[in-house]
Symmetry: C2
Subunit: 270 residues, 2 copies
């Protein structure tokens, strides 16, 4: 773990990341020592920092530290946290703030091998996401909703839980974005009120554009899920997992899901 | 600063308080070495921990550490953070979790002396609070909304900003709860969808009950503010501040505000 470039696993206890969740993070797959989709993660990190008014560290610095940490790792997860740094009286941030960076390396998670092929079972979470357009899409550190949603089940046979907003609209999974396939068209929720705009979600949207696959980024509800032919979830670490069952609804990975899954595999294990 | 009883200002960088805002806090006024409204703060801390599924530290332990830190302090602020502790893979918490406690002492804030007597000017924040009944009322560590709201102004003549929810209902100030007085009755927002149920808010409600003052805890909007005779904000550190101006609306501290202000002064400087 590197905190502001220093090899330590301790952080100042007055860091605003701890005090207020005043920061954001990226979770990045590492293959053969190389952080995958680096440019996309850096673009999102910079965009999110701008939205929170945090001055991001130089990308060259992050690149150098990331590669130092990842060297020799065949398969791992790199997490980058950027906080607004220490201090300030109350919610008001110090002027100027001194943002802090935390880079940490983690073992590749032990998800069941059959998830990519056979798909996962997915539940509907009771927790509803609050809406705030100012925070929508940002991968910020205020993640209590996800923590409480993930605490709703401990059945190891369930691979993910879907979250609705307060109006019952589909938003995302606890740790993933969600796509539907209906009549050969892709659909994914518009994230203008809540949710995290994942890097892998962007990749899927870009692959669809390149592949001439019709895609709607729109408001979706449980009726759309019920009408879907296929469903999948995605994030930077898992890639793409088909959904084989949502609550009592059986689903199967169809041609569009498999096509995108292959394309993502090619993209992230290059 | 004491972290799990140890005199240090560094915390494990894998603490879930940093990673996800997975925890809560109390901000407590200290007078003559004594943390004020201790029982009320401990009751709220235990209630909030239960709602988040965090096992709180023993109150006797917190009491002992708090008194150790506060000894000899004529006037200070004690902050207690409880997090779910380190670890877990992703949002899922470790079983069992090992909650962590961070007690820190801070200088008494340098608010202008005339605030309690002459009142403060208050603005309306553009930021709207997201609604989530599961988190409503809890003083949790997910405070980006407050950080961004407080960043909306730097005019030192403005003492507080009021926050509405997504439906335009009045909720609270960025760091305080808000009360209106109308026709001799107290009104304060119902906090069932968002907001922090402050300890001082509870004290005001209790003082009103004891004093036979009619009080409505209800849904309020800007029309209620416009119709108000008096307005005040409160928290554990500032006590009660009258509002002398909200945006362009002049207000004056009337008899009910002064009566409650005196009662709170007697309660907290005992």
């Amino acid at each position: 773990m590197l905190i502001d470039g220093k090899d330590t696993d301790q952080i100042a206890a007055d860091d605003r990341g701890l005090l207020y969740g005043d920061g954001l993070f990226e979770t990045i797959a590492v293959h053969d020592g190389v952080p995958q989709l680096w440019l996309q993660h850096m673009a999102r990190l910079q965009r999110d920092c701008a939205r929170l008014g945090i001055i991001p560290p130089a990308v060259e610095l992050l690149y150098s530290e990331a590669h130092h940490l990842c060297a020799g790792q065949s398969r791992a997860v790199l997490k980058i946290i950027i906080t607004r740094g220490s201090g300030g009286r109350g919610y008001r941030a110090p002027e100027p703030a001194a943002p802090r960076r935390v880079l940490s390396l983690h073992p590749w998670p032990a998800y069941p091998d059959h998830y990519p092929e056979q798909g996962i079972r997915v539940r509907l979470c009771a927790m509803r996401l609050g809406s705030n357009p100012r925070l929508a899409g940002i991968k910020h550190l205020n993640r209590l909703e996800q923590v409480l949603a993930r605490a709703e089940w401990d059945d190891p046979g369930i691979g993910e839980g879907l979250l609705l907003d307060g109006e019952g609209r589909l938003v995302e999974g606890t740790m993933s974005n969600v796509f539907l396939v209906r009549d050969g068209r892709l659909q994914t929720p518009l994230l203008d009120a809540c949710g995290v705009a994942g890097v892998m979600r962007e990749c899927v949207l870009e692959l669809a554009r390149q592949g001439g696959i019709a895609c709607e980024v729109t408001r979706l509800g449980l009726d759309d899920v019920a009408a879907a032919d296929e469903m999948f979830v995605c994030n930077s670490v898992i890639g793409l997992w088909p959904v084989c069952q949502f609550e009592q609804q059986p689903l199967a990975a169809g041609p569009l899901t498999r096509r995108l899954q292959q394309a993502i595999g090619a993209l992230t294990h290059a």
